[in-house]
């Protein structure tokens, strides 16, 4: 079926007004030999048939709510989303509107995103937030672009910790192909026991940016205050890739002195959705706002004296600056920024603190129970939040296979990215994991041969 609301009579009247006989006559400018190709596509379905087909496809998957107990995180987390969030997202006024280019009739979106910016600055402690990026990985890559622009290309080195998410490091490399940069520090064969200071020996007068993760990819909480001081002493900027749920409990990156704080806001009200769409957040200091990519909402007044909001500092962006823009990014994750704002508002300060505490408590209970099993143990002694690395008596891939056969989606096999860590699994815990689920995990692992 189609969604075309024009009757045959109306169509004929319109063709007459235009001055052509048939619909096909409208396409004379198209080269004749390529006009109206036969396409090999399946026959059209009605809504009823499509609903059934898609249900069938979705049901072919095993999901983490109905089929498996999940302890998989590694950049995407299974959190509870209050009912209110999707009710608001389903308002046609929000999801069927365009980017708010006409502020007189887009104040709903504009105020909501302004509030999102405020929520993110209050969460990270930073001074400004933009309206969103595609995801945590691209937001991190845009931090590199900011630093590149800040030093006008005169500094060429990016130092990345090997415990920044492997996919984020890959995206930084893809994004910076045209900049002629040197990306160092993330040699994954280095001793994983080494602390964050290990990369500092690489920071020099040519370094524009140091990128670290908080908690790091192995779940460890580091205080980066000293590292940031040292990097600043060399004139480099520091970007912290942060998990927003952890920030509800932990010291803010701003307190440590970070210049840029980015991350993946999927844990805040966005379903796992097989990896997207998610929401990259990007916060920084006010002094870098002109170098920051992405949309930005500012407060103003209208000609009736009412407080209102508009897209501002648009002169930074591609439609004005064209090839001199820092980034080509324009519209991106507006509705998901709304989702995370509604999530934060609905849970509020109290509910959010409960979420963070539950994540922490469940992970620590699991850690203490798992390390009692013969052959298993925690790999690192540093404090952690809701993820940690479990050392196993055999390869992680085999442990995960065994768990899956027992209805458990295990953790992330670190051997895929870190050759020395092939017996190591990154386990994640959230408020969604009950004590019973954790006990089941422990029981199942105890019986592993």
């Amino acid at each position: 079926m189609t969604y075309i609301p024009i009757s045959p009579n109306e169509r004929d009247a319109m063709l007459k007004t235009v001055g052509v006989k048939t619909l096909d006559d409208l396409f004379d400018a198209v080269p004749k030999k390529h006009r109206f190709p036969e396409l090999d596509l399946p026959p059209a379905l009605t809504e009823m048939e499509a609903a059934s087909l898609l249900s069938e496809m979705a049901n072919t998957n095993e999901n983490v709510r109905e089929h498996m107990i999940s302890f998989l995180g590694a950049g995407a987390y299974n959190h509870y989303i209050p009912s209110v969030v999707d009710h608001i997202l389903r308002r046609g006024e929000f999801y069927t509107a365009y980017t708010p280019y006409q502020p007189e009739i887009s104040q709903g979106t504009l105020q909501a995103i302004f509030e999102y910016q405020s929520l993110m600055t209050n969460l990270t402690g930073m001074e400004v937030s933009n309206a969103s990026h595609y995801d945590g990985a691209t937001a991190t890559a845009e931090a590199v672009s900011l630093a590149y622009a800040q030093f006008r290309g005169k500094r060429k080195k990016v130092v990345m910790s090997p415990t920044v998410h492997p996919q984020y490091r890959e995206v930084i490399r893809t994004y910076s192909q045209g900049m002629g940069l040197e990306e160092v520090g993330d040699d994954v064969s280095i001793d994983p026991e080494a602390g964050p200071e290990a990369v500092m020996s690489l920071v020099d007068e040519n370094t524009m940016l140091v990128v670290v993760q908080y908690p790091d990819f192995f779940g460890r909480i580091h205080d980066y205050t000293k590292l940031i001081e040292d990097a600043h002493a060399k004139g480099a900027l520091v970007c912290i890739v942060a998990n927003p749920t952890a920030l509800l409990m932990l010291k803010t990156p701003a307190e440590m002195g970070a210049d840029i704080v980015v991350g993946e806001a999927q844990p805040f009200g966005i379903p796992l959705w097989y990896g997207g769409p998610y929401l990259g957040f990007f916060t920084t200091k006010k002094s870098y706002v002109h170098k920051m990519a992405g949309r930005l909402i500012g407060e103003t007044v209208d000609n009736r004296g009412q407080r209102a909001y508009v897209l501002t500092l648009t002169a930074r962006e591609q439609h004005i600056k064209r090839e001199r823009a820092t980034s080509n990014i324009c519209t991106n994750q507006g509705l998901l920024a709304l989702a995370s704002a509604v999530y934060m508002s609905t849970l509020g300060k109290t509910g959010l603190q409960q979420v963070a505490n539950l994540c922490y408590q469940k992970a620590h209970y699991a850690a203490s129970e798992l390390s009692k099993i013969d052959g298993f143990g925690l790999c690192f002694s540093e404090p952690f939040f809701h993820e940690f690395v479990l050392c196993c008596p055999k390869p992680a891939s085999e442990v995960n296979e065994y768990l899956l056969a027992n209805g458990i989606l295990g953790g992330y096999d670190l051997g895929k990215d870190y050759p020395a860590l092939k017996n190591h699994i990154l386990m994640a815990f959230t408020e969604m994991n009950s004590k019973q689920e954790i006990d089941t995990l422990v029981e199942v692992l105890k019986e592993m041969e």
């Binding site: 609903a51 209050p82 006024e93 006409q102 509030e115 932990l250 097989y274 769409p277 934060m344 300060k349």
Partner: protein, 494 residues
């Protein structure tokens, strides 16, 4: 003090108010980390659930959307977003699958992605397809990276020039700029086509390629498209197609057949993924045979062929000379790919062709109705959109005034001041999902506004009048840069 129509979520906060709460912990208590690793306060709003719902309901009413009415924003394809898509993309099997699950447990997702890749290839005539890019601009960046990688693989290092027509979207030069390429602007001729003479003069062995939107932002299908592509190919350049305007071409012509080497789709324009008040979109990229090895990693492929009763095993594959990963995980699966898949499945070939036929009919009908009242600088059969001039001889009324006055007639304005090559441009794209009555009411409103421009221009200068908000002080916003708000008790600290 400015009047406040709706306080911010921070201003609505009251200390001690509780919203949705979490269950008590069911595990033995563990001590928190050392205090110097903890934050001292969490300055976030405190509200009850009802406060939150009423706040966002109030805000939603300040918006104008496709569900409210006609939204003829040129180059944005603001078509109706079918409600069934909202249900299919929220099926639990899609919502609750983790991107790093073993492939054996997500065959439903992978089949959907694989088939969508194949359908998009069939619709566009390309040999390879990636679903990873998150948006149109992200797809463009992907395409330009592949163009650069292609020339690099041939040790053809002197190619640094990107040819871009003067009618192009701003993202085109910005994408080229991200690779450090210089941009050479190619003018349009009097019929709205690429100026062939200027193009021929710019084509040499330093050309990376050309980035062309076809139909272009004037809504014109380039009458010399094959010649344009031939010129670019002849000098060793690659042809990039900006798929923003693909809504005119479904079942009409395949860009791959015309000779384009790479093109991004906008699933949020052509294939009914809602625009979300500014995203998320989805920007898959198709490529010709010679760029297939450079596609981003990973792609969805068949790892083991099926037989008889056994379906094939779908999984991820890495192209030989891949440019790398464009984002974490696999693209905008839930919000983008599932919706687009549902939409294409419900259309088939005839349905897709009808989309473009009626999108083009609607645009030509509006153009015919406005001809005579508004100047149409490039006046021939248009594709899915057209550009009129928003100015009248002897009047100081501008396109902006006309756009704002349209709001008083309950319409969203067209795109204005773009493309840059038309003075006071009003770029109108009705899409196929509007009926004749709506188009007539819109044409009538624009004709009435043209009269008002002569009889009472101040009515236009001060417009809009009936919307909840009037014109904005944009200078104040940029000068004062108030970019966030705080809890009332925190204001004094800022």
């Amino acid at each position: 003090m400015a009047t406040i129509l709706e306080p911010t979520i921070f201003e609505l906060s009251s200390p001690g108010r509780i919203g949705v709460t979490m269950p008590a912990s069911d595990v033995p208590h563990s001590d928190l980390p050392n205090k110097n690793l903890l934050r001292s306060d969490l300055p976030l709003p405190e509200l009850a659930e009802v406060d939150v719902v009423r706040h966002y309901m109030k805000l939603s009413k300040f918006n104008y959307s496709v569900d409210d009415g006609f939204y003829p924003l040129g180059s944005c394809t603001m078509k109706y977003n079918p409600k069934i898509n909202e249900d299919t993309c929220r099926l639990p099997g899609f919502l609750y699958t983790h991107p790093l699950q073993p492939i054996e447990t997500v065959q439903g997702n992978l089949v959907l992605m694989y088939e969508l890749q194949e359908w998009l290839k069939e619709i566009s005539g390309f040999a390879g397809m990636t679903l990873q890019p998150a948006a149109g601009a992200h797809g463009e960046f992907t395409g330009v990276l592949m163009m650069a990688a292609y020339h690099k693989s041939r040790n053809d290092s002197k190619r640094t020039k990107m040819l871009i027509p003067d009618a192009a979207h701003g993202t085109n030069p910005a994408s080229a700029g991200m690779l450090g390429f210089s941009v050479v602007t190619i003018p349009s001729d009097a019929r709205g086509n690429v100026d062939l003479k200027a193009l021929a003069a710019a084509c040499d062995d330093t050309v990376v390629g050309m980035m062309l939107t076809n139909p272009n932002t004037l809504g014109m299908f380039d009458e010399n498209i094959e010649k344009v592509i031939e010129l670019v190919h002849k000098c060793g350049g690659l042809m990039y197609g900006d798929g923003a305007n693909l809504n005119a071409l479904l079942g009409i012509v395949r860009p791959g057949d015309l000779g384009f080497d790479v093109m991004h789709f906008n699933l949020h324009k052509t294939f009914s993924v809602p625009h979300g008040g500014g995203g998320p979109g989805s920007g898959p990229v198709g490529v010709s045979e010679r760029l297939v090895d450079f596609l981003p990693s990973p792609l969805v492929g068949i790892l083991e062929d099926g037989e008889d009763e056994i379906p094939p095993l779908y999984g991820f594959v890495t192209p030989k000379q891949t440019i790398g990963r464009m984002k974490a995980f696999h693209g905008h699966f839930g919000g983008g790919l599932v919706r687009a898949y549902t939409y294409i499945a419900m259309h088939g070939l005839d349905g897709l062709k009808a989309i473009s036929q009626f999108a083009v009919l609607n645009a030509n009908y509006l153009q015919a109705r406005l001809r005579g009242t508004y100047t149409i600088p490039y006046d021939r059969i248009c594709m899915h959109e057209f550009v009129a001039e928003g100015q009248f001889a002897g009047s100081d009324v501008r396109a902006l005034d006309i756009a704002k006055r349209l709001m008083d007639y309950n319409f969203h304005p067209p795109t204005n001041y773009f493309p840059l090559i038309v003075h006071e441009a009003l770029m109108i794209e009705p899409t196929e999902t509007e009926n004749k009555d709506t188009l007539d009411r819109f044409a009538d409103a624009l004709i009435k506004i043209a009269e008002e421009a002569k009889s009472q221009p101040e009515l236009l200068h001060d417009a809009p009048h009936i919307t909840p908000f009037g014109r904005m002080d944009e200078v104040k916003a940029a000068r004062e840069l108030v970019l966030c708000c705080w809890l009332p008790e925190d204001y004094q600290n800022q």
